[in-house]
Symmetry: D2
Subunit: 460 residues, 4 copies
C-alpha cells in the first residue's frame, strides 16, 4: 500500500498519460488524459483510488484533452500551468505549487519552451525519501528529444527555444542524473523532431544519449533545435484552440453506423463529404471507390488525417473489416473528428458485389519502378529533410501535405509514380492525385526503404 | 447472409432483449432494450447492421427502458403499442402494422393482458417461407407462465386478465404449435408468477406444459391467474412512470468513486443516506457497519433493492471486492437508482483497520436453531404462499417487504431468528431489524431449504 | 435453478455445439464440441456445472472433434452412436438409452442417414413436463435442410438416403410440431446442401418450410436429395478418419511465430511449404508474394483451405494484420492443420520494405470485364449447379477445387479472367493459375453477383 | 520501430517479468517468466517479435518458473547463470556474455548474493547510444531493498551477504546513477526484507533512498542484512528444487471442477484432503465448513498457502464466488499446487441450503476485544520483529507459520483471541486452532492496525 503509478499508452497518438496517487489515502491524479477516458476510471477503480485532480502539463496541440470529459464523469478538479489562453476555469499552478495525494506529492516546476505555460511535475513519495524520484515532463523532455518550440504558429519559436534551453539546462538537469523522466509522448509524435523508442528515461540517460544535451551553449542549442525542424502539422493549431477552450463533453465515443453500398454512394453526393479509405495501400491499389482518399489505419493515421483532412467535412469510412471500425472511430475521436457519417458495411466486398465501379492504382515494387523509370514522372512526397538526404534519380519533390496546393506543378496526362519512406504517404499522395484528375498514378510499396535495401541507384 | 437474430440476456433482471434484422439489407431492430445499451451497439456492429427501429412490446415496470439511451446514440425510431400513457413521441403500432427490415418483417399483434397496450411481434423471414417462424411475446407469454395482469396498480387486473385470456387463446394459440416463442423475461422475474427456466419455447410446448393453458374456460383462467398472485413489487409503479415518460438520457453508466472509511462515515451522517451492504449473508453476519442494510449482490439483488430501498435516498455501498462495484453499479443503473454516492474503498477490511465499530449477526445453521428453538422468536419473512405451504413450528410471519411497517408487532428485547427460503431475504430482514433497534437478531443461512433437507419438524 | 442450456456458435465452421445440464444437480454434458475447448470450460464454470458427459451425435467430417481435448482437461466420459468405426473407447449409445443430468435427461433416438451411427438426443426437463421440449439433431436435421448422406465417400449414399427418409419422417416428425430443433450446423456448412440462416427451428417449422419435407414418398425424397448434391469436400474423408481414431490431444491452440521477410523467404525454399495469403482479394491483387495462394480469411476459409490445401504441407501465412493471426490459427486448428511454420511479421508491408518482389493480379470490376470480354478467356470457377443456372457469355467452366488437375485445358499464354459468385473463389483460382505459370490472370471482384446486379448480358 | 520493452506484473507473486527485444529485427527475450505463459505469447504477438531467448536471472524460490512451459510452446532457448544446481540443459551465461536481439543487446554481469549463480543483465539499445540504459536486476536489487541471501536454507547466508555487498557496491553502483533498475519483484515479495512500492528505480535513486546503500562497510552491510531477517518461507526450499530440476510442463492452467455439497463432504473424508476457504475473514467468521482453513484470497494468498499448506495434500476449495475460482487456480498453479480436487459449487450458500453444519468464529472489533481483555487469552501471531515493536498488553506470541507445532503451549479450553497486523494472518491462525480442537476462538478484524488507530493501550 502506498504509491500508485501507472503509465497509459495511447497508440495512435504515441501519447503517454499517467495515474499517480496513494492507495493508502485512496486518492490520485491523472496527468494529461486523452479524450476517451474510460481507461482511467477503470484503472482508478482497480487501484482503489478516487481521482481528485486532472492535470494538464500544457495546452496540447496534437490531441483533444480528456480533462473535461473526465471532469464530467467524476467531478475532479482540472489544473494546468498559468496562462491567459485558457478559456475555462481551472486551478492554475505556478512554480513550487504542490498537490498532495496522500503521502505522494506533486510539486510544480515551470518549464516553458514547448509552450509558455508548460509545467513539469516532480513526484515525491514519502516512502522513497525526501527527494523526488521522478518527473512528469509533458512535452518538455522526451526520450532522445525535447519538445518543439514552434507549434503555436505565432512566430515565438526563437523565444521559446531560449526558454526551453533554460528549462532543460537550468531546471531539469540540476535535479540529478538519477531522476526518472516520464514524458507525454513516445516515438512517432510530431511534438518532438525525432522522439526515441522509450516511454521513459532518466535525466542522466538523456544527458548522455540525447543530442539536445550535447549543445555547448544556448545559441548552439537554439540553432540546433530550430535548424531542421520538420513542418508543424497544421491541425495542431486547431486542436490548441479546442483545448484552450475546453473540449465539448460527449459522454462516450460516438457509435458509427454501417451504410449499404447504395446509401454510401448516395451520401457521397453531398459535396461536403469525403471518403476515407483506411485499408492498406495494396488493398487500395487493388481496387477502391472512385474519389476515395487512402489514409491507412495504423500508428500515423491520426497524424495524416489531421494534416490532410478538413475537420469540418463529413466523413465516410471504408475499413478492411468491422473490427477496424471501432479502432478508427476511437482514433478520430481523439483528434476531434466528430463529424462521422458512417462506414461501408462489409467493406469493399459489398461494394464490388453491388456492381459498382472500382478504381485501381498501380502498385509497383521498386524493381518494377526501376525498369520503367523512363516512362514515369517519379514524385517524392517525403519531407524536405528526407528528400535532401538522398532520393531516386530524377524524382520531383512535393511533401505530401502540400500536394493539394501544388497540383499545377504536375502534368495530369503523364504517368506519375509516388514514393515516400515506405509507401504509406505515397499512397495518400497517389489517392489525392487520382481524386484530382490524374489519370495514371502508380504507388511504390516499400518506397525508399525498399529502393535502398535493393541497392538501386541513389541521387544525393 | 439474411436473418440476424440474437437474444441478449440481462442477468440481474432475468430480462431478454433481441436484435433482429437482415444483414443483406444491413438493417435491424432492437426489441425491449435495457438501459446500458453498449451491448446492442456492439452486436449490431459485429452483425453488420444499422439499428433503424427500437421496439417496446409494452411499458416495462421492472427495469428502465434503454430506448431513449439508444436513440440518443444512434438516432433510431422508437416504436411501441398504442397508448395514451406514453408521454414522448413514438411510432404507435397497432394490429397488423408491419416493420420491414430487409427480407425480415415484423408484424404486430395486439395482445393486451399484462398491460393494455401490449403488442406481440410476429417474425417473418422470406427465406423461411410465408409464415412467421416465431413471435416476440414480451410479457404476454413466458416459458411455463404468462404475464401478470396486476402490475399497473390501478385495479384493472380482472379486466386485463380477461384480455390476457383472449390474447393467449384467441390470438397466440391459433398461430400453431410450431411457432417459436421469444419472451422478455426468464426465471426470476416478478413479471410472471413463476416463470420457467427456459429463455424461449414454442406455442405447442407452452400449450402442453404450462399451467395457464390447462384452463378450460375464461372464468377458470381468471380465477387461476388472480388466485394466488404474489404481491406486486412496489417499485414497479415507479418504473412504469419513468418509462411512460421516457427515461432521462445519461450517456453512460455512472462511475462510482471509492471513499475512505472516514469519508464513508462522514457521508453516513447525512440522514438522506443509506448504507447498502451487498456482501453475502455470512460476511455480513461476521461483521458489518452499524446501520447497514444487507442486500446481497446476486440474481435477485435488483428486485429487493427496488422493493426495499427508496430511490430518492443517497446510497453508500459496501461490496465484497472492487470487481463487484461495477456489477452493482450496472444493476442499480438498470432499475434507475442514479443517486449513488460512493463505495467503501477496500471494503470492510479498511473499515476494520481504521478501528471503527463492527456489528454482528448470529448466523445459525438450522441445527443450531433447532437446539435453541425455545429461546428465540422465529420470524418467517417469506411470502404468504410460501408460508402457507409449511413452516418452522411456531414461526411468526411477516413478508420481508412489509417488515418496516410492522416492527411494532415484534418485541425489540427478545432474540429474533429470521428465516426465508435460503437465508437471503432473512438477512435483509435481520439487517432491517438491527438497524431499527432490535438488539439480538439471528439469521438462519440455508433457512427453509436446509430445515427441510435436514428433516426437521414442520408445521403446516 | 434447474435447466442449463447454451448454444455455442463457431463461426468459421458454421458449427453449433451445446452445453446442457442442470445447475441444481451441478452436472452437464457437451454436445459435439469443437477442438478449442476453453469456451466450454468457461461456460460450465459460470453456469456452476461439472461436465460429466461429452456426446458426439455422429462422427464429424468437417471439423476435428474436441472430445478428446475436453476429456484430457476434465476427465469426462465420451459417448456416441454405435459404430465399429470408432477406434477408441467410448460409451456407445443406442435407441432409448438415457443420460441423466440431474432433472434433465437426454434420451437417444437412432437417426441414421447422414451417417449410419447418427443419434438424435431428446431433451427432457422435469420442470417442463414429461415430454421432451427439444432435440439435438446433429447433422440429421438443420434449418431448411437435412444432412447429406454422401459424405462417407463409400458409395452408400442411396442406402443412407433411404435411412434418412425414415429417420426424418418416421422418427422425428412424429415427435410433433412443437418440438424444438437444435442442429449441429448453420448456414454455410457443407454438411447440408443449403442450410438456412437459423441456428434452431421446430419440427413444425421445418415440416412446412423445408423442401425436404415436401416430398411425397421415399423415392421422391431420395431423388431429391441425391439429385443435385454439391460435391463433397475432399478433406471430409480425412477428418472422418481423424475423428474415428480420436484426435491427438495438444493441450492448447498452437502459438504461431512471426518470421522476418528474410526468414519467410528462406522457408519458402523448402518444397514442402506453401504460402497461404489470407488477405482480401483486392489486397492480394494489389500485390503479393510470388507463388502465394489467396484464401481470404472469413466464413468459408476453413472450407477452402480444407479442400485446396494438402494437410501435410508446412504452411507459411500472410495476414492483413496481427489481429488476424490468432483467428487464422484457431480456424486452422479446428480443421486439423497442425503443421504451421509461421507468419510474415508485419505482413506485406515488411515484405515491400525489404525490397522483395511483388506479383499483381488484375482486379477488374464487371464493367471493365464487359469492356474487354473479347480479349480474355473468361473462367467460371463456380460449382456445376451454379454454372448451370446462368453465366457470363462464353465462359469456360472448371470448379475451383478441380482446377489443379485441369490446367492443361487452359492456355497459359492467354489472358484469363476468373469469376465466381463474389470473387472469393475466383481469387483462389487466380492465385493457383498464377502459381502454376499462367502469366496474365485477372480476378473479378463482385463476380456473378455484380454482373447480374449491373444488368450485364447472361448466357443460360 | 526498434526497442520493445514491457514489464509484466504478476499480482499474487509481486513478481515482475519482462519482454525485451527489437521489433525491427523481430526478436525478443523473456526475462524471468511465470508459469502461466499465455501473456508472454500474446504480448510478443502484438509487438511483432519472436521469442528467441528465455532468461532466468537466477533459480527462483518463490514461484514456479515458466521457462519450460514457454519452451514447450515456442521452442526458444533457456538461459541462466552458471550453476551446478541446474538439472536440465540450458545456456549458462557468465560475466560479459552477450545476447543479441537485433539492435538491442543484453550483457551479463555476475551478481551473486541473493543466490550464487545470480546474473544481472545490462540492456543496450543502439538507438540510445553506446551505454546500457538500464539493468534487469532479478533479485539482486529491488526498490528500497536488496535480495535476501538466506533463502537457500544451506547456511551460506554470511558468505552470500558478502558477495551481495560486492555485487551492489562494486558491480552495480559503478554503472552510474542514471541507470534504470528493473527488478524481479515489487512490494510484498519475501525475496526482500521490505521491498518498496515501485516496480522500477534507478541506481541513483536506490543509492540515496535505500537503507542498504547507507552502510559504510562490508561488515556493517552484512550485520544489517542478516540482522533482522524475517524467517524464510519454508516452501521456498521446495520451489528452488522444482526450478533447479525444471518444472513439469502442463500445457495450460488446470481446470477445476465444481463439487456439490455432498460430493465435497465425501471428498473431505479422505485424510489426505484439506479444505481451503479463500473467503474474507468476516465471511469465514460468519460461518464455514468445520475443519476448513481460512487463507483469504488476495495479494499474500500464495505466500501463506506456500507456508502453511503441504503441497502433497489434495485441496478442496471454498471461494466467495465463481469468479474467484479461476484466480485462485492461477495463483495455486504459479506456486506449484497441482493437486486440486475441486471447489464447492455455489460456495457456502449451497452448503447452508443442504442443511450441513456450520462453524463460526467470533469476529471482534478491537473495542470489543478491549472490553473483554480479561476473559480471553490474546494470541499475537505476527512475526518476531513486529511483536517486538509493540503489542496488545498481555498477548502471547506465536508466529503463525509455527502455530501448528506449538499448540501444546495453548489451553484448548480457554477462549483465545488471535490478532496480527490486519486480521488476515490471525484468521489463518484462528482457523488452525479451531481445526485442531480449540473450542472458543475469536479473530480480531483490523487487529494491530485498528488497535493503534483506536488509541488503545500498548505494551512494548
Amino acid at each position: 500500500m502506498g504509491l500508485v503509478f501507472e503509465q497509459i499508452k495511447t497508440e495512435g497518438l504515441a501519447q503517454l498519460s499517467y495515474l499517480v496517487g496513494d492507495d493508502s489515502a485512496g486518492v490520485a491524479a491523472i496527468i494529461d488524459p486523452r479524450r476517451d477516458v474510460d481507461i482511467y476510471l477503470e484503472k482508478a477503480r482497480v487501484a482503489g483510488v478516487r481521482i481528485t485532480h486532472i492535470i494538464e502539463t500544457h495546452i496540447h496541440a496534437d490531441f483533444v484533452s480528456g480533462s473535461h470529459e473526465l471532469q464530467a464523469r467524476i467531478g475532479a478538479k482540472i489544473c494546468g500551468g498559468k496562462s491567459l489562453d485558457y478559456q475555462f476555469e481551472l486551478q492554475q499552478l505556478t512554480q513550487g505549487d504542490e498537490i498532495e495525494l496522500g503521502k505522494v506529492k506533486l510539486q510544480v516546476l515551470h518549464t516553458p519552451g514547448h509552450t509558455p505555460e508548460h509545467i513539469t511535475l516532480q513526484v515525491f513519495d514519502a516512502q522513497q525519501g525526501e527527494q523526488p524520484f521522478g518527473i512528469f515532463t509533458g512535452d518538455t523532455l522526451f526520450n532522445l528529444d525535447v519538445g518543439r518550440p514552434d507549434l503555436s504558429g505565432t512566430g515565438t519559436e526563437k523565444e521559446l527555444a531560449s526558454k526551453l534551453y533554460h528549462s532543460l539546462f537550468d531546471v531539469l538537469v540540476p535535479l540529478g542524473d538519477r531522476v526518472e523522466v516520464y514524458p507525454c509522448h513516445g516515438a512517432g509524435s510530431a511534438c518532438g523532431k525525432s522522439i526515441g523508442d522509450r516511454a521513459q528515461s532518466t535525466i542522466g540517460n538523456e544527458r548522455i544519449f540525447s543530442d539536445a544535451f550535447q549543445k555547448r551553449s544556448e545559441a548552439e542549442f537554439i540553432d540546433w533545435i530550430l535548424g531542421d525542424l520538420p513542418e508543424a502539422p497544421r491541425y495542431y493549431f486547431r486542436l490548441k484552440k479546442v483545448n484552450a477552450q475546453g473540449a465539448k463533453v460527449t459522454g462516450c465515443v460516438p457509435t458509427l453506423q454501417p451504410l449499404s453500398p447504395a446509401d454510401f454512394q448516395a451520401a457521397m453526393e453531398d459535396e461536403n463529404t469525403l471518403v476515407i479509405d483506411t485499408r492498406s495501400m495494396l488493398a487500395f491499389g487493388g481496387g477502391h471507390i472512385p474519389g476515395a482518399i487512402n489514409i491507412g489505419f495504423g500508428s500515423s493515421f491520426t497524424n495524416w488525417i489531421g494534416w490532410i483532412i478538413d475537420a469540418d467535412k463529413k466523413l465516410l469510412l471504408v475499413t478492411e473489416d468491422t473490427h477496424d471500425v471501432t479502432l478508427v472511430t476511437d482514433y478520430l475521436y481523439r483528434i476531434g473528428y466528430d463529424n462521422l457519417f458512417g462506414y461501408l458495411r462489409n467493406g469493399m466486398s459489398s461494394w464490388s458485389k453491388a456492381g459498382l465501379p472500382l478504381q485501381h492504382l498501380g502498385e509497383w515494387s521498386v524493381h518494377e519502378l526501376n525498369e520503367h523509370l523512363e516512362q514515369v514522372t517519379v514524385l517524392d512526397v517525403r519531407s524536405d529533410s528526407e528528400y535532401a538526404k538522398g532520393r531516386i534519380p530524377g524524382a520531383k519533390h512535393i511533401y505530401v501535405p502540400h500536394l493539394e496546393e501544388n497540383f499545377e506543378k504536375l502534368d495530369k496526362t503523364q504517368a506519375i509514380a509516388t514514393y515516400c519512406g515506405s509507401g504509406y504517404r505515397a499512397s495518400i499522395a497517389a489517392s489525392l492525385l487520382e481524386k484530382n484528375g490524374f489519370e495514371n498514378v502508380i504507388n511504390i510499396p516499400g518506397s525508399w526503404s525498399a529502393w535502398k535495401t535493393a541497392g538501386l541507384p541513389v541521387e544525393q
